[in-house]
Symmetry: C2
Subunit: 441 residues, 2 copies
């Protein structure tokens, strides 16, 4: 295992995505034909990294982020029992993914307010021991309505509880905007949101790492794993796991795989699937294309979604994410013969058998799967997974000629919501007024 | 509000699914043309209910389930601080949906082991105060590998902790099988799994209600809401919210809406979306058809999936689930002008504005939405929602001529996993051996 500390342990297996067995499926010849485009895209990506271009800059983060500076910044709140992240989308999903992945035994001490559900906000604030809670507020623009609204509610609750919120809060934000102003005014510890990196690509910066740092997670390991994945970028889909994933997904989408069912076989990676879903959907859902991510979880969703994946429309790629080595209990022998086959079985072996059976079951029905594997579920592996999926997403954007780093389609709704709240009459609010209804009750 | 206790408050608004605005979309004329088929399907469903046919029997549950008997059965463990449900698929999702929906302030006292992730099982068992935990083990056949394996692990952990597990366990299972034998042998309190009802349709029975009963939730309210929804079944999609939902989804799928993005605007309904995803996928994912449920959450996923929903392929129906009346905090006025528009705004109003903006934003881009609404998030409303979505699913099955109540495609994988564990060589294990691989590392 000497290579595992710095080397890459991640692999991508696309064997079960290959035609003629799979439909939609791709042939090795078709992949060979993609190689030239992958190589060109790699050159484009490498240049983007080198020139620090908008978006591509995300792939430099593991070299730039200084974990010591992060640890120092969180020092004032590092004694906290709980971390309350107030953020939404890219300002929340990466952080939750990292605590869940690297400190799974303490992940329930990381509470995330990434919604403005009023009763849920109330319950969350009521339940937390605010004097022992570090508040981690994250907004790149410093104006995100949901985040600022929630933060103002949390701040007032701390005031009401007699807790000095300025002593318990760390802000991660850009260089301007009301959150920056507020942080300056109250002398809060802050971390910058990296320049030139869209929120959903910012997990490998303070945006994703602060809560794990507070909970004393191995953030250095995450960054080392990401660097290993960076090292593995190469101008061939057959030599780079990230590009193997991206090129295969692109080719499968071209063949009709409009759904990407993303299914980790690990509870601690469930937030990783949510993080991936944003990365993939918001980066690639453009110009009438983009796979729809369907978040799933093995083995649980074998009892929920597998019927559809196997017997429904041939419009899916199923992505299985898992680790080779798992720990955990062995099933005791029971007093009933029918359960003998379970006795003395490690749960890890049961999980692996079910996973292998599921892949084969899908293959037997002609549904393509792609396996993403790591040695074990640790910080290094999580860093590899995060970085590789970012690189895969960027590759698909290049191949599909999409603007990977923007999200223009969400602006309409933001304007509309803001106008509604401000009581203004705009083109957007007129659309809302005029919506057709046909109500059945 | 006098009618709301027993009457139905649920509505379905299909206005924003209508063509020509929406693509895929349907016209009112097309819906009119569906009416006759809906009426015929309703007759079929009503006959199935009357004759207690397999599957259709689910729609009688609210009349049959006796909440007093349930409360009596859980009496021995009703003092528990935590409930640990050990089940998977239909034996877990309904139960989690109901505790989350009707006792959201105590929902974190309901812990669900619905996966055999070994480290997660270890963490869960380690963390629970087993002496104050009621174990709720649920398996219709009594042989479900994941459930029995987990239960044997939990039982041993209780033994090891010096807790008499026979005093802390309630079993919900069929009339035969190893779990039934074990319950008889150890004189456990048991509740029967209803006859003739597939697991995913069993939420409105002991299968879904036991944990809520232990946590003193209003299970009577859930059943009353379900009865109100039953009363609302009528031979017209324009007069029955459940059928309006089902017929619209069917028609949209026929027009190319292969994805159903199911998006409650309430944290407490997130498990409801998971429950729906199983119900929809496992019932209707057959013979090459079936919408893929994409679980989402408002407003959170506006910052994750909306870009794709708005600008991606025109292959989606977006289902918005929400409640008219919400409680919760008001945003305090902040010291920055840019945040003035948020000051003194109720979070509930912010949520509603964002929801309305999202529906309009999708409509403006031609993406069809269907609204499912209730007055407020209470037990009655949850009962209506559960029952109505079951009826909607059954209606789609009739319209599509699908065997709604079976799940044949999952059997292959179950056989394969079992053979792997038993070390047998079968056709299934041979398929696993022979899977192609193309590993990039």
């Amino acid at each position: 295992m000497s290579g595992a500390i710095d080397g890459s342990s991640m692999y991508v297996d696309i064997g079960t995505a290959l035609a003629p067995g799979a439909d939609p499926g791709i042939s090795e010849e078709e992949l060979d034909a993609l190689e030239e485009r992958v190589a060109a895209a790699h050159e484009r990506i490498a240049a983007g990294i080198r020139d620090d271009e908008f978006g591509y800059a995300a792939l430099s983060l593991p070299d730039r982020v200084d974990p010591d500076a992060l640890r120092e910044a969180v020092e004032p709140v590092a004694d906290a029992e709980f971390v309350l992240t107030v953020g939404i989308g890219g300002s929340a999903l990466g952080a939750r993914t990292i605590t869940s992945g690297i400190v799974p035994d303490r992940a329930d001490r990381h509470v995330v307010l990434d919604n403005v559900d009023p009763e849920h906000v109330d319950r969350t604030v009521d339940r937390l021991p605010l004097a022992e809670t570090a508040v981690n507020v994250v907004s790149k623009s410093g104006t995100t309505a949901e985040t600022l609204a929630n933060f103002l509610v949390v701040r007032e609750a701390m005031d009401d509880a007699g807790v000095d919120w300025t002593e318990r809060t760390i802000a991660t934000t850009g260089s301007a905007g009301p959150l920056r102003a507020l942080a300056d005014e109250h002398d809060l510890p802050t971390r910058p949101v990296p320049e030139g990196v869209p929120g959903r690509f910012a997990a490998l910066s303070a945006v994703g790492l602060v809560p794990a740092a507070i909970l004393d997670g191995d953030i250095e390991g995450v960054l080392a794993g990401a660097r290993a994945a960076r090292e593995s970028l190469a101008p061939s889909l057959f030599e780079c796991p990230a590009y193997a994933y991206g090129a295969t997904a692109y080719a499968l989408e071209e063949r009709g795989a409009t759904v990407n069912a993303f299914m980790p076989y690990a509870e601690s990676l469930e937030p990783f699937a949510e993080w991936f879903a944003q990365l993939w959907a918001e980066s690639l859902g453009k110009a009438g294309r983009g796979q729809t991510p369907a978040r799933a979880l093995g083995v649980t969703d074998q009892h929920s979604q597998l019927q559809l994946y196997r017997a429904g429309p041939a419009d899916k790629q199923i992505t299985i994410v898992d680790a080779d080595d798992r720990d955990g209990p062995t099933v005791p022998v029971a007093e009933h013969e029918e359960l003998d086959y379970l006795g003395n079985t490690r749960l890890a072996d049961l999980l692996a058998a079910e996973r292998d059976a599921t892949v084969a079951s899908l293959a037997e029905a002609g549904q393509p799967t792609v396996r993403v594997g790591v040695d074990r579920l640790d910080a290094h592996a999580l860093g590899e997974l995060l970085y590789s999926m970012e690189a895969a997403t960027i590759l698909v954007g290049e191949l599909a000629d999409i603007e990977t780093f923007t999200q223009p389609a969400v602006e309409w709704g933001k304007r509309a919501a803001r106008a509604l709240l401000a009581g203004e009459e705009t083109a957007e609010t007129a659309t809302i007024e005029d919506l057709p209804d046909l109500r059945v009750e």
